[in-house]
Amino acid sequence: MSHPAVELDGIWKRFPGVIANAGASLTVRPGTVHAVLGENGAGKTTLMNCLAGVYLPDEGAVRIDGEEMRFSSPSDALAAGIGMVHQEFRLVPTFTVAENVVLGAAPRVIDAAAINRQVAELADRFGFEADPTRPVWQLSMGERQRVEILKALWRDAKVLILDEPTAVLTPQEAVELGKVLRRMVAEGRSVIFISHKLDEVTSFCDEATVLRGGASVATSVDIATVDAGELAKLMVGESSATPPSPRLATPGDVMLSVDSLTVMDSRNLVAVDNLSLSVRSGEIVGIAGVAGNGQRSLTDTIAGLDVATSGTVSIGGVDVTADPPRRRVERGLAYIPEDRLGVGLAPKLPITHNAILRSYRDLRNGPLLSWDRAKAFGRELVERFEVKVGREDLPMASLSGGNLQRLLLGRELSRDPSIVVASQPTRGLDVAGVAAIQNLLVAQRDAGTAVLMISEDLDEILALADRIVVMSEGRIVGEFDPRVVSRSEIGEAMMGAPT
């Protein structure tokens, strides 16, 4: 009997404060496309990094063709025939396609013409269209991905791991990718396809392993015999819905309204597609959805950090679509961005600098900034929102994740906003941090603020939201009442399964 191409057996991987993999297993037969499914944070990427030699697992076995391996670097894994295409490409933009493909694995004597020919032959064999002499910076994201795949094939990878490969592709490019994968498995290679899009998995893959909370909840499921709804249920779990916390205020006027909003992303693809949404004072509207379905473009456009292609954003009944971020803040908007350290805070600067980011204009004496008042402001914020800090002149980055978020949220709430847009407000926080942030949001709603919350954590949405909308591919694909909806109904809508 032939051995499985890849066998991961009871993999554990812990990071400080987080268990990324808790006994995950995976078996990939040669000549198949194997899907690894799971919500964000389910441990998919960590598991693949354990296979590709990026991490060494704390426990568990990695077997390739039945032989136990210990990879301490990606080059070890590559030598054993495991190639990985990461979400961020690792290409030299000024090099040509062929130069990138052979980089680090070129023959001793470099004959450019011969290498170009060999790369072209390799591409042809797998049904790629690739001009080996074109510089990579001229290529589209889809074409760059092909170069990454060619790199692995040039090194004769027997197993190719693709981490969310379709995230950067247009739908047509995704179909092309599917054909290439078929040719690869026809040669007896195996492909591991990480995704959270059910429709792709059902059309491209033979078998699937589902991860939830770092462990495998289903292994080697035959795609042909299972329907998308069942996979969605496996991914999100079956635990009963938590009823939302009872609200004290009754919803009042519409504070935030988004009408027929369309936003393009940096690749000029539609990120938000003709979306309309409104949030009233005294309610929490929760947007559920898998990451990368336009949530970030939506919230950034509401805050004025991204530009609407068409449609409008109104705050308190006033059209602010053309207003800069500062004007919107003055109208009562508070924004907790998804990327706290990159957008919401300046991690290298002292805590005081970060605390006064929204209010420093009020702390001026003429052109001068009153640092005494700034420090007092920072200390008050730290006390009121129970942020654990050392000294206030230490860099922001010295705080733990939960305390960073408390300071950020506290800073935004300190201006008594009428609208709070909170993107992934509790992601990555420990239990105490999650509770503190959620309590602050609920208290804000009960005080009559309109709250728009974006979260990938369904439990959080179910527990906090008064109204749930599901976002997929830039559109709202469903609206639910959290008191009566089941997790799997939301899960299916999130995964784009037909409802």
Binding site: P337, V343, A346, H353, P367, L368
Partner: protein, 355 residues
Amino acid sequence: MSRLVLARREQVVRGGQPLAFFVGLVFALVLGAVLLVISGDPVIDTYQRMFERSLGSADVLSTTLNRAVPLALAGLAVSIAARMGLWNIGAEGQILFGATAATLIGRIGADWPGPILIIAMLIAAMLGGALWALGPGLARAELGVSEIITTLMLNEVALRLIRYLQNGRWKDPEGFGFPNIEARPDQAQLGAIWERAHLGVIIAIAVIAAFAWFVNRSAWGYELDIAGASPKTATYAGISMRGKVLGVMVLSGAIAGLAGGIELTGTAARLSENISNGFGFAGIIVAALALMRPSGVALVAVAFSAVQVGGLSIQTLGVSPAVSAIIQALILFGAIAAVVFSTYELRRVERKVAS
């Protein structure tokens, strides 16, 4: 297997920086001594001359201070831009164009009283430097064009402009056919304050002190810090990155331009291709050695100036210009190494071995 890597020190050693500079200087002088022995020059005499002719008497010290003025202002210009992550490599061109603009005012106001003419010339120099940085600032703010490239290229343009003026429109009619620009009016001479040192020293100290204070105390300086640390965070906070980039580039250019104006009214008699002497480029080194802190550029500029003045003086002993240049460079390397080693240390790490 193990290898050496440069790693950030976990805690800064107290008094480490002066010590590091001292060790760096000693290293440089020892290496320089080896070089002098090879070239057949007297080691002790050379070093003695170097010190005597840069710091050894009031007369030479005041010359050193004069030379430190453009270095310090160029260093300030570079460090202000660097505070928000911009590289002004064009201080040289801004100095040249600043001096050119001041010369223009000198020609217009040839019969104005001295103080008024000097003030007008210095303001013109600042406006000229600002104008020279405006283009790169606009290109960076509006189109994202790298200011490193544009400011660098404009250096050459400013130089060619002076070359054109000295061969053409501003050529001195009494210059016996030599391509010289007419001398500036005599009354446009900055007064002496001590020995050879002129008023420019006071102006430079005042400008640097004002900036060091303003950057640390003002809302503008706070916005600069945020914009430099994280452009996305600045946009989020409602700070206009375009406005900041443009403002900082123009300000940086104005400070460099002022250096050109002070050179013209303090040390030089006329505008020429050599009026800047590479001060704009040396300013980058001054700013780097001052760790991009406005408050540090003055001291570093005086030390840098002393090395240059002293280094030139040893040529009068018969030391070849090449050896003199190498000794100056060695001292600079020592200082730069000192900066590196006061924040970083060499650490031995085990190399990962595949098992």
